[in-house]
Amino acid sequence: MTKIISLVIFHAVFSFTFLPVTDSATSLIETTCKQTPFFNLCVSTLQSDPRSSTADVAGLGHIIADSINGKAPATLNQIKGLLKSATDPNMQKALQSCVDSYNTIVQADIPVAFEAITKGDPKFAVDSAADAANEAQDCEKSFANPPKSPISDSNKNVHDLSVVLESIASLLL
């Protein structure tokens, strides 16, 4: 009799520890993303990362920072490639300015945001994320029309993700 009872108890405990947590995690993602200006981008970026199912708000911030950390270096490489083959001096100038912007995003803004969220001084993450958004925007603005920006989509993506990061970091203040 006692064996069955302990088996039942064991089974119950076992089941509870493996209850799917997606419901509560999804709602944290949703409530967090509702407080950013780019709800859909925020939700899709977070949901595509498995860590988001067990992350707290700081953890969600880390995931967004990681996403920018993937996009920005790739965009930087793209810019450098374009710079190599550019012949129009206006285009060259714009691309060079973008190299500076993206170097800042990759070397300064995102590492600072990461560190600040981890160490519990989120205002530096807010400022850095805001700066990253500005850098992406500065890069886009450096292309007059002509020359047209060859990297509008990437710039918008990095800009919008940075704004999302800024909003999430603000929740930690």
Binding site: D100, S101, A108, D109, K119, D131, N134
Partner: protein
């Protein structure tokens, strides 16, 4: 702090980049708060309890003249704790080496307090029971609070049940400062002073908006609480030290000159890309003395320390210059990138009386800046301007007349046309400044290339700005008087000094030099 003949400055420093991170304690010393000598880093992140950052702390002088330092460490698990440190060699006036107490941390976040909301311990003051008392900022949800601890040895602490003070909606309280000011005398007070002629100031740096706020009130030693004189302008919702770029400021009692000195961090207003290219970011303000303004009873007065006057070179005086409505007058002072300006303005009395008031509310930040004309303002100076005025930073007064006939004076800095560059801050900063009956409008401005520190009415309202002109630089920078009011002419009297540069020297690798220094 002032120790054995030297002013010591310990600061948050990133040795690896021109952005925040990897924070350790930088150290510099000075004889006069103006010329500085850099020393080696005082403390680095070499213990588990400060591995993630050697953050803000405060020094306390013990009665025997020794110093104890309490500082926040961010542990290897990013928990915020308080640690004790002291000079390795108290006989070394330069205090180059520091020892961390082996039993650190001495304080960890108490129950109910988030482990990332517990930082920046203050200088300690003596209670009537002869114990040392400190306060540490924190928050509960969105209510900013300051926790209180008593100690006899800086190693063991008892937490008081309540808090020094709390204000809902203000968020995390960083860099809390708590100090007495004399109601009647024009000198500073040691942090432990209390009594009938004394008020206490609580100051906090608000994480939420990156501004420093203060309030004046009464300290109750028995239960370690403080009540503001005017709850309507309680700490965090009322007066600011500075309406521009100024944060994490801290005071210390300077026993050398019997004054309380305030010092703040002036961050950058440019992009981080620019900071990375410059290779540096952030400056300290010129130190300011702090006094209670017994004329208003509600404000503190901040004023650049008198030692700044030792940098004054050539003086230019202008007496009774009349500035008509809608005019700009150049002031010939030579190069205008390093200036000390003392100015007084008298506005046309008739215009003050005749102008019809209105219900409109004015605020520097939502106004159109110096280009927006009102009946009785704006008027003041244009600094870091070029000849063609394509770049200019107006520092000015704006008088608003209410429909009841009452005059309200505002003091602003307008960065909107400060630079042709597009990646710099172009906001308009400022605030209301109390002007009492019989007072003329007075201004002090320290101009230093990209830094403007401006003081209205003897330091009742202060604005610090960072501007980055591209043309109004070095030999091309000018200064002008201006009056953009429609109804009132203004008369100005000014003294403008060219300022020398301060000597800021790196740490010398020279034994004899250091030996001589220590004997100074």
């Amino acid at each position: 702090m002032f120790y054995k003949g030297w002013y010591h400055f310990f600061y948050q420093y990133n040795p690896n980049a021109a952005v925040w991170g990897d924070i350790v304690w930088g150290h510099a010393v000075s004889k006069d708060l103006i010329h500085w000598l850099h020393l080696p880093l005082a403390m680095v992140a070499d213990q588990w309890y400060d591995k993630n950052g050697v953050w803000t702390g405060s020094a306390t002088f013990l009665p025997d003249g020794n110093i104890v330092m309490l500082y926040t460490g961010s542990t290897e698990e990013a928990v915020q704790v308080q640690n004790l440190a002291y000079p390795a060699d108290p006989s070394d006036p330069l205090l180059i080496h520091w020892v961390k107490y082996p039993g650190n941390p001495v304080l960890v976040p108490p129950p109910g307090i988030n482990k990332k909301d517990f930082r920046d311990p203050t200088t300690a003051w003596l209670t009537s029971e002869g114990k040392w008392r400190i306060t540490i900022g924190s928050k509960i949800n969105k209510t900013g609070i300051s926790l209180v601890y008593d100690t006899k040895d800086f190693i063991n602490y008892e937490k008081l049940d309540g808090v020094l003070h709390a204000v809902p909606g203000t968020g995390m309280w960083e860099c809390v400062d708590f100090f007495p000011v004399s109601k009647a005398q024009e000198n500073g007070l040691d942090t432990s002073v209390n009594g009938p002629g004394v008020k206490h100031v609580v100051k906090v740096s608000l994480d939420d908006d990156r501004h420093d706020y203060y309030a004046i009130g009464t300290y109750h030693d028995k239960n370690g609480t403080w009540i503001p004189d005017q709850p309507g302008i309680d700490v965090g919702i009322g007066l600011r030290y500075d309406y521009g770029v100024y944060y994490a400021a801290k005071t210390f009692y300077d026993q050398n000159k019997n004054r309380r000195v305030l010092w703040g961090w002036i961050g950058e207003s440019d992009s981080e890309a620019a900071d990375m290219q410059k290779g540096w970011a952030s400056v300290q303000s010129i130190p300011r003395t702090i006094l209670f303004d017994n004329k208003t009873g509600t404000h503190l007065l901040q004023w650049p320390v008198e030692e700044i006057e030792s940098l004054r070179l050539k003086i230019n005086e202008f007496n009774g210059v009349r500035i008509q409505t809608g005019s700009v007058i150049p002031l010939d002072v030579g190069p205008a990138t390093q200036l000390d300006v003392v100015a007084e303005f008298k506005i046309d009395k008739e215009a003050l009386e005749k102008t019809t008031g209105s219900n409109e509310t004015f605020s520097c930040s939502t106004s159109g800046g110096a280009a927006e004309r009102g009946a009785l303002g704006p008027f003041g100076l244009l600094v870091l301007a070029d000849d063609s005025l394509s770049e200019q930073t107006p520092v000015y007064f704006y008088i608003a007349k209410g429909s009841d006939g009452n005059l309200k004076t505002f003091f602003c800095n307008d960065q909107s046309r400060s630079s042709a560059a597009s990646d710099v801050n172009k906001q308009i900063y400022g605030s209301f400044v109390p002007v009492l009956k019989g007072e003329n409008l007075s201004l002090r401005i320290l101009v230093d290339h990209s830094i403007i520190e401006s003081f209205a009415q003897g330091g009742r309202t202060v604005i610090t700005s960072r501007v980055y002109p591209t043309k109004a630089i070095y030999g091309a920078a000018r200064v002008f008087l201006f009056n953009n009011a429609t109804d009132a002419s203004v008369t100005a009297t000014l003294k403008i000094w060219q300022m020398n540069s301060a000597f800021i020297r790196p740490y010398p690798n020279d034994e004899k030099f250091l030996k001589d220094l220590k004997q100074m």
